[in-house]
């Protein structure tokens, strides 16, 4: 195959998938109650996009997602730095981290509802709890893997702990933090949506549950696509940030190129 021709395979495979999906629905192999054809999803999508409801749902969920992620980054990074710096803090806090991390965080949902009730606070809280663990563990790993020689170098020039933190710890940890953020991003979305499933009066998750209850399958698919686009968009923004922060890195794919 010509070099670069592989890229077209993505287009071909997605196109085939959509066509087969359409044909399966047209041939009535599947009940329209269970699956809507892509053509109908597109038509319904066009009407939904023209209405304000979809946008207010999206705005509501996006706000909760942003708040959850912000809390997770601040909390997760701060705790990660703390247990990375202090062995005492590590041993004091680690048992809790291990146990909570082992839990599928979704099981905390009833507790969250009990404590703060259903609504925006619960949505943000579950998203934040879910997202903070990957960020915390990545930050901790980043601190542990700092080059000790860099610290020795800085100290030899008389650097204070504050200067060492700013010039060595922060730049060394940020790449780890971003990879934690990559995982945390998805977790935050899962947390917010699940909490909206449980109970909310607005939001993408809430609307999807409602649409399913009314067997509005085509509309449900539209919301599914919206969630996917939103998450991809957030991921792409993060990628841009990553590129900006890590401009100094040698080409990460240099070793495998041409394999």
């Amino acid at each position: 195959m010509r070099p670069g021709a592989e890229r077209w395979l993505s287009v071909v495979s997605v196109g085939t998938f959509v066509v087969v999906w359409e044909l399966v629905c047209r041939a009535a192999w599947v009940s329209p109650v269970l699956l809507s054809p892509p053509s109908q999803v597109a038509v319904v999508g066009a009407t939904l996009v023209a209405q304000p409801r979809l946008w207010s749902d999206l705005l509501y969920t996006a706000t909760a997602f942003g708040a959850a992620l912000a809390i997770a980054v601040v909390g997760g990074a701060a705790l990660g730095v703390l247990i990375g710096y202090s062995r005492a803090a590590y041993f004091a806090v680690n048992p809790f981290i291990v146990v909570i991390n082992a839990l599928p965080k979704v099981v905390l949902m009833p507790l969250v509802v009990l404590w703060v009730g259903i609504g925006t606070t619960a949505n943000v809280l579950l998203g934040a709890v879910m997202a903070s663990f990957p960020i915390l563990t990545a930050t901790y790993a980043g601190i542990r893997s700092l080059e000790r020689d860099y610290v020795r170098l800085a100290r030899s020039f008389g650097a204070t702990p504050r200067v060492i933190f700013r010039t060595i710890v922060v730049p060394g940890v940020v790449p780890y933090l971003i990879s934690g953020l990559r995982v945390g991003l998805n977790y935050a979305m899962v947390g917010v949506l699940i909490s909206e499933f449980f109970g909310s009066s607005l939001g993408l998750g809430y609307r999807m549950m409602l649409l399913m209850a009314n067997f509005e399958v085509a509309s449900f698919f539209v919301y599914l696509v919206v969630v996917a686009i939103f998450t991809l968009g957030a991921s792409a923004l993060l990628h841009i940030l990553e590129r900006r922060v890590q401009r100094w890195r040698p080409d990460p794919f240099a070793a495998t190129r041409g394999m």
Binding site: Y150, S156, F157, R249
Partner: protein
């Protein structure tokens, strides 16, 4: 004037199981101000520990370390440039750590980098540099802090012979010009015979000073083939005198 005086310095490191490992055993030496002083010895003999003591990064078990220097700087064996900083950013790093950054810092850094042949690379990141260039940045970073005592831990050991000689000459030139004191650790007598005024020969662990040799050769020491030959002869004599008997 004396830049550094070590008197009966003993350094023990605690081992697992409560034992103590003696690394330095009553080391005494004196370095005159402005002197190019070198220490040679087998690898792993505690030279790095000695430098840590002088830098104040470690405290001796007993004995005294007196340093008469307003400002000290260290050049490590590995260049240890921060990968996320450019050449210029790395050159400025020593000054930044010591709180010496002022409006004058950047022009001074650029001037020194240019002098060391790095003006084409000031905005590049370290991974694009050769080992010799990295070591030059390492040296520039230390010199920009304007030390009166410069400690160097086998700085040129990883370089090819031609690059090593060029860097040695750069160093000698700057030393002549600025008059700082150098303490240069190496495991090559040929290298220190070219560079140093005095050579302290150290023993294997626990480290003692076997003897201090004065290098009586005129500078520059490899300007003519005869001088080069005298240099090799001198290194050979030193090797015979110290390493044949002390091992």
């Amino acid at each position: 004037m004396t830049a550094l005086r070590l008197t009966d310095v003993v350094m023990d490191f605690p081992q697992v199981g409560g034992e103590r490992l003696r690394v330095l055993d009553s080391v005494s030496l004196t370095v005159a101000s402005g002197e190019f002083y070198s220490m040679v010895g087998p690898s792993g003999c505690g030279k790095t520990t000695l430098l840590d003591l002088v830098m104040g990064l470690a405290v001796p078990t007993s004995g005294s370390v007196e340093v008469e220097a307003r400002r000290k700087a260290m050049v490590f064996q590995r260049p240890q440039l921060l990968p996320w900083r450019t050449v210029l950013g790395n050159a400025l790093y020593g000054m930044e750590c010591g709180g010496q950054l002022d409006g004058d810092a950047e022009p001074r850094a650029l001037a020194l980098l240019q002098r060391m042949g790095l003006s084409q690379h000031v905005h590049e990141h370290p991974h694009r540099l050769s080992e010799g260039m990295k070591q030059r940045v390492n040296l520039a970073r230390a010199l920009l802090t304007e030390p009166d005592l410069l400690l160097m831990d086998e700085p040129f050991a990883a370089l090819d012979p031609a690059t090593r000689r060029r860097l040695q000459d750069d160093l000698l030139e700057l030393w002549h010009e600025r008059g700082f004191t150098v303490i240069f650790v190496s495991h090559s007598l040929a290298e220190v015979a070219y560079l140093a005024d005095s050579i302290a020969v150290l023993s294997d662990k626990p480290t003692r000073v076997c003897g201090v040799a004065k290098v009586g050769l005129p500078r520059p020491r490899a300007a003519t083939p005869q001088a080069e030959l005298a240099l090799l002869q001198h290194a050979e004599d030193l090797t015979r005198r110290y390493f044949a008997t002390s091992v």
